[in-house]
């Protein structure tokens, strides 16, 4: 999927895009652990890679907003946007943690 240009989106759509890509990543991270449990180690690693791609799309949206703010153009703060950022941040930490866990499992031959 290509990068998203925020200029063409409403604030609400920006928040939804952020939730969408973080959400796709979140699902893949959890799916990855489940695949690992089922013995499909390669599928698990592939899902984490895909989750990272989704997260980079989300990160790009987040980053564009930060750059806009640094340029003096503030984004209107809504509860929906906070919720979207929350989704993004929690999925980022989830991904980091699951990635470490999978490495650990592999090392211990679990």
């Amino acid at each position: 999927m290509e990068k998203i240009d925020l200029q063409q989106l409403t604030n609400e759509q920006i928040a939804f895009q952020l939730i969408l890509h973080s959400g796709n990543a979140r699902s893949k991270v959890i799916q990855s652990l489940r695949e690992y449990r089922a013995g499909n180690k390669e599928v698990a690693s592939k899902l984490i890679e895909e989750a990272e791609k989704d997260l980079s799309l989300a990160h790009d949206i987040h980053f564009q907003m930060i750059q806009k703010e640094a340029g003096g153009q503030n984004t209107e703060l809504t509860l929906l946007l906070m919720h979207a950022e929350d989704h993004f941040m929690s999925t980022l930490s989830m991904k980091e943690l699951v990635k470490e866990m999978l490495e650990l499992f592999k090392e211990r031959n679990l």
Binding site: F16, I19, L20, G23, N24, R26
Partner: protein
């Protein structure tokens, strides 16, 4: 009366989509009951629904929810990515109708 259940992890983003879907249904003169819940309530609420749409953040639960939905003979699907990403009520509503038609 069409009854459409939307579910996402907390029920927040889909609540907004619900409003947009309701507006669209009203604009084309259709009567629809559309509501959103968090993922924990989805299984309980689906007995009242004709179709269940879930957010991308819980797509990993689709097969689990579909299993439950079979008890009521209804379908579960992940909300179309474009419809969700653009908060497009019309597209999401049409997706729900299509799923109901297939049942």
């Amino acid at each position: 009366m069409k009854r459409i259940l939307l579910a996402c992890s907390s029920g927040m983003s889909t609540s907004l989509l619900v409003t947009k879907m309701q507006e669209y249904a009203k604009s084309i003169g259709e009567e629809a009951e559309i509501w959103a819940v968090g993922q924990d309530q989805a299984k309980k609420e689906m007995e009242k629904a004709d179709v269940v749409l879930i957010g991308p953040q819980m797509s990993f639960l689709k097969s689990e929810l579909q299993k439950e939905a079979e008890k009521y003979g209804i379908k579960v699907d992940v909300i179309d990515m474009v419809a969700y990403g653009m908060a497009d009520g019309k597209k999401a509503y049409e997706q729900a109708l299509k799923l109901m038609g297939e049942k």
